[in-house]
Amino acid sequence: MRPVRRIEPVDLLRIGDTTLLLYETRLVRLSPLGAAIYELAADGIDVDDLTRELGKEFGPPPDSTPGEATWAAVGDLAEVGVLAWEREPPIACDERKTFP
C-alpha cells in the first residue's frame, strides 16, 4: 500500500533551507521536513514507511510520537495540494493524531 504521492508542481526552487513549489495558481513554501516528505513521496509511499524514513533523517519529534507527527505533516501537505491520497486515508483526518 502506498497511500500518498506527491503532486508535481510547475516549478520547484530551493533557497537555503526553504523549498518553493509553484502550482498552477498557488505557491507553497516547504520547511526541510516538508521538502523531505515531498522527495520521499515521489513514487508514492506508505505513511508508516514515511515515518521510518523521517525518523532516520530528523530523529524523534519533540512534542508527539513519530506517527502522529508524520500524519500531521502529511495532512497539512495534502491540504495545500502537495500530496494526494492514492486511496482514502484509513481514518478521518480529524482523528489522525490518534493513529500510531
Binding site: 510547475v10 516549478d11 520547484l12 526552487l13 533557497i15 537555503g16 526553504t18 518553493l20 509553484l22 502550482y23 498552477e24 495558481t25 505557491l27 513554501r29
Partner: protein, 265 residues
C-alpha cells in the same frame, strides 16, 4: 473607425461602432494618448492581441467576449480599460513576467521601480504623485522581459470618481501632467506597497530575502505559472535588482522623497 492601443509590448485594435462611435473614439483617443503609437524601440517585437469592439449602447448589445457595450460613456471607458488590459496580459502570457504593479522610471537613466500591490490599495495614487517627477510607465501591470526591460503600458489612470463609488474615471496621463516614459526602462527594484490607515509613525522599510520576496510576489503576478521555469525566472530577475522591500505607510506624501532617493542616479 478604429484605434490601435499600444502597451505591454502589444497592440490592441479597438473598433468603434454605433451612432456615437465618433464621440467614443474621441474620448478613447484623449484618455489613451500615451498608447496611440508604438512605445517600445523598433527592434522589439510587438504582439497583436485579440481585437475589441466598443459601442455606446445598452449592455444587452454586449454579446461576445470581444464586444463592450455600455449605455454611459464613463462605464464604457472603464470596462474598455479592463478588457484591453486583459487582452494584453493574455497575449503576453508565457512571455513577460507580469506583476500587479504601478511603475515609474528615472527620465534620464531609465532605472525603474515597480510598486506591487493588489487593486485598490494605492498604486494609482502613488503613480499620480511620482509621475510629476519620474516617467510614468503604468498604474496597472508591469511587464518585464527576460533581460529586465519593462514594456511600458502608460494607460489612462483609473481614478475613483468619489470615495463611496466603485466607478472610476479613465484619466489621461497628459491631463495629470505626468512625465513621459523613457525608452527601454530597466527594472531596478521591486517595492511591495502596504498602505494602511492603521499604520502609525513614519513609513517603515522591511528588506525581504529571496524566498520571502518570491513568496510575496507570486500572488501578485499574472500567469506566472505559464512562463518557462517561472520560479527560476523570478529568482534570476530579483538577483539583478536592488533588494526587494515592503514599504508600510499611511500617507503617500510621506514616502515620495524615500522613493525618489531609490531612483536617484
Amino acid at each position: 473607425m478604429a484605434l490601435d492601443l499600444y502597451g505591454l509590448g502589444t497592440r490592441t485594435r479597438v473598433t468603434f461602432s454605433g451612432a456615437s462611435a465618433s464621440e467614443v473614439e474621441d474620448a478613447v483617443r484623449h484618455a489613451w494618448v500615451r498608447c496611440l503609437a508604438p512605445i517600445d524601440p523598433p527592434d522589439v517585437e510587438t504582439l497583436d492581441t485579440e481585437p475589441l469592439v466598443a459601442e455606446l449602447a445598452d449592455a444587452s448589445a454586449d454579446t461576445s467576449a470581444s464586444t463592450i457595450a455600455r449605455s454611459e460613456l464613463p462605464a464604457l471607458l472603464q470596462t474598455l480599460t479592463q478588457k484591453v488590459t486583459y487582452a494584453k496580459i493574455r497575449a503576453q502570457t508565457g512571455r513577460l513576467l507580469m506583476m500587479h504593479a504601478g511603475g515609474v522610471a528615472h527620465p534620464e537613466t531609465g532605472s525603474s521601480i515597480a510598486f506591487v500591490a493588489p487593486g485598490g490599495t494605492g498604486k494609482t495614487t502613488l503613480m499620480r504623485r511620482l509621475g510629476n517627477r519620474f516617467g510614468y510607465l503604468t498604474d496597472e501591470t508591469v511587464g518585464v522581459d527576460d533581460v529586465g526591460i519593462i514594456r511600458a503600458y502608460p494607460k489612462p489612470l483609473s481614478i475613483r470618481t468619489a470615495p463611496t463609488t466603485t466607478q472610476k474615471g479613465e484619466t489621461s496621463p497628459d491631463d495629470l501632467r505626468l512625465l513621459a516614459a523613457p525608452s527601454a526602462p530597466r527594472l531596478g527594484r521591486i517595492v511591495l506597497l502596504a498602505r494602511s490607515d492603521d499604520h502609525e509613525g513614519t513609513p517603515s522599510v522591511e528588506h525581504l530575502d529571496l524566498a520571502d520576496a518570491i513568496a510575496a510576489l507570486a500572488p501578485e503576478t499574472s500567469a506566472l505559472s505559464s512562463l518557462p521555469r517561472p520560479l527560476h525566472r523570478l529568482a534570476d530577475l530579483l538577483g539583478t535588482l536592488d533588494p526587494t522591500v515592503r514599504l508600510r505607510y499611511r500617507e503617500v506624501d510621506e514616502i515620495l522623497d524615500l522613493v525618489a532617493g531609490w531612483l536617484a542616479p
